[in-house]
């Protein structure tokens, strides 16, 4: 073939490759970023109080598109405002990720609610199965309180006096603290809400 026929073909090929590059970036980065954004625990609409995160708008028609996509993809039926509000902690108050090998102390005041529940969860926020009659969950009706109405909860695999939350196994740990029939879910008072601190104790190697 002569140079006159090869030259336009090279130019065409280069255009095709460049178009492919542009398309690959658009679809790969565009789709991948949605996937990444939906998997992140934080995100738009999150309210952070100390180590605790809540999504008060999640599952309502007012939610942002990211929350709506997450609800659809994970098949969540979120709690309504008259039911309650769930807070999730994935780190302790010092910013270290929670681990099931470690003992934790959850200490402080709990906001006004008819009652609350606290459970230990795995990565997908399902309650940890202890394999024993004792569940990895506590609720406010069975809690021992101090004279100032605050509570101290010990979480870990080794039994502890007072309030003990059994957390067996190894790996990542999440605490889910849910307040039921509470004014903080329906009012704008979320800014003054104070939640308990999570401090790390000793860890099994």
């Amino acid at each position: 073939m002569s140079a006159q026929t090869i030259f336009p073909m090279v130019a065409m090929l280069r255009n095709a490759v460049l178009t492919l590059v542009a398309l690959a970036i658009a679809i790969g980065v565009g789709g991948g970023s949605v996937w990444y954004a939906l998997d992140a625990q934080s995100g738009i609409g999150a309210i952070r109080i100390g180590p605790w995160t809540a999504f008060p708008d999640m599952g309502t028609p007012d939610a942002d598109p990211y929350s709506q996509a997450r609800v659809a993809r994970e098949g969540v039926l979120a709690l309504g405002r008259a039911e309650g509000l769930a807070f999730v902690a994935e780190r302790d108050s010092d910013g270290q990720p929670l681990r099931r090998e470690c003992a934790y102390t959850i200490e402080g005041q709990f906001p006004t609610a008819r009652f609350w529940t606290l459970y230990a969860a795995d990565q997908s926020l399902d309650a940890i199965d202890t394999g024993r009659p004792r569940p990895a969950a506590l609720h406010s009706y069975e809690i021992l309180r101090r004279p100032d109405n605050s509570a101290v909860i010990s979480a870990g695999r080794h039994p502890a006096p007072g309030n003990w939350l059994l957390v067996p196994g190894t790996g990542a740990l999440y605490f889910v603290l849910t307040f039921y029939d509470t004014p903080i879910a329906s009012s704008t008072g979320l800014s003054d809400v104070r939640l308990p601190r999570i401090t790390r104790g000793s860890c099994d190697a």
């Binding site: 565009g30 709506q68 609800v71």
Partner: protein, 182 residues
């Protein structure tokens, strides 16, 4: 080199468009949303537990381990929906969701006249019909007006400890969810 840079910039702009398009399409096309999962587990107007067996995989996620919950899918085109459950449990709550899993309305046992669950879900048009002549049997019911066709109603109940299991079992076992004609 300049043409490659051009392609990358076009790609980046395209990525933004794809990101927004995919994000907005996820709720429309998801086959893993609550409605689809419940459709695989049970029929319309069947109160089905969200956790079929203790310790088993939940049909719909995020169920508190100290709670029991059951869901019922309905279609208001068939007429207003009546949801009832008898007995005294420490706490119950009801949520009405639309087809996409958005929580439209929720209430708990403090909203009911005598603490028993008896609720009617209906569209605004059906509400006008019912208001003309309220059947006596519905005088104690909680009316929930929702401008939807298909939807999901979920009832939840707190189980503080095992001693409450019989009462909660009865609450869910005798719960009903059926379309009504007035």
């Amino acid at each position: 080199m300049r043409r490659l840079l051009h392609a990358v910039i076009v790609g980046a702009i395209g990525a933004g468009i794809v990101h927004i398009a995919v994000l907005l399409m996820v709720p429309e096309f998801s086959e893993r949303d609550a409605w689809s999962r419940l459709a695989m587990a049970s029929d319309l107007y069947r109160m089905a537990p969200l956790v079929p067996e203790p310790g088993g995989a939940p049909v719909v996620k995020s169920v508190d381990p100290l709670f029991r919950a059951a869901a019922c899918r309905f279609d208001l085109d068939d007429g207003p929906l009546q949801v009832t459950a008898p007995g005294n449990v420490p706490f119950w709550s009801v949520s009405v969701y639309d087809r996409n899993g958005h929580n439209l309305y929720s209430f708990n046992d403090r909203s009911a006249a005598d603490g028993t669950l008896d609720a009617i879900v209906l569209t605004p048009a059906q509400m006008i019909e019912v208001r003309k002549e309220l059947p006596e049997t519905l005088e104690g019911s909680v009316f929930v007006e929702a401008d939807i066709g298909e939807g999901i109603v979920v009832i939840r109940s707190f189980v503080p400890d095992d001693s409450w299991k019989p009462a909660v079992d009865r609450f869910f076992g005798q719960s009903t969810c059926a379309p009504q004609q007035f």
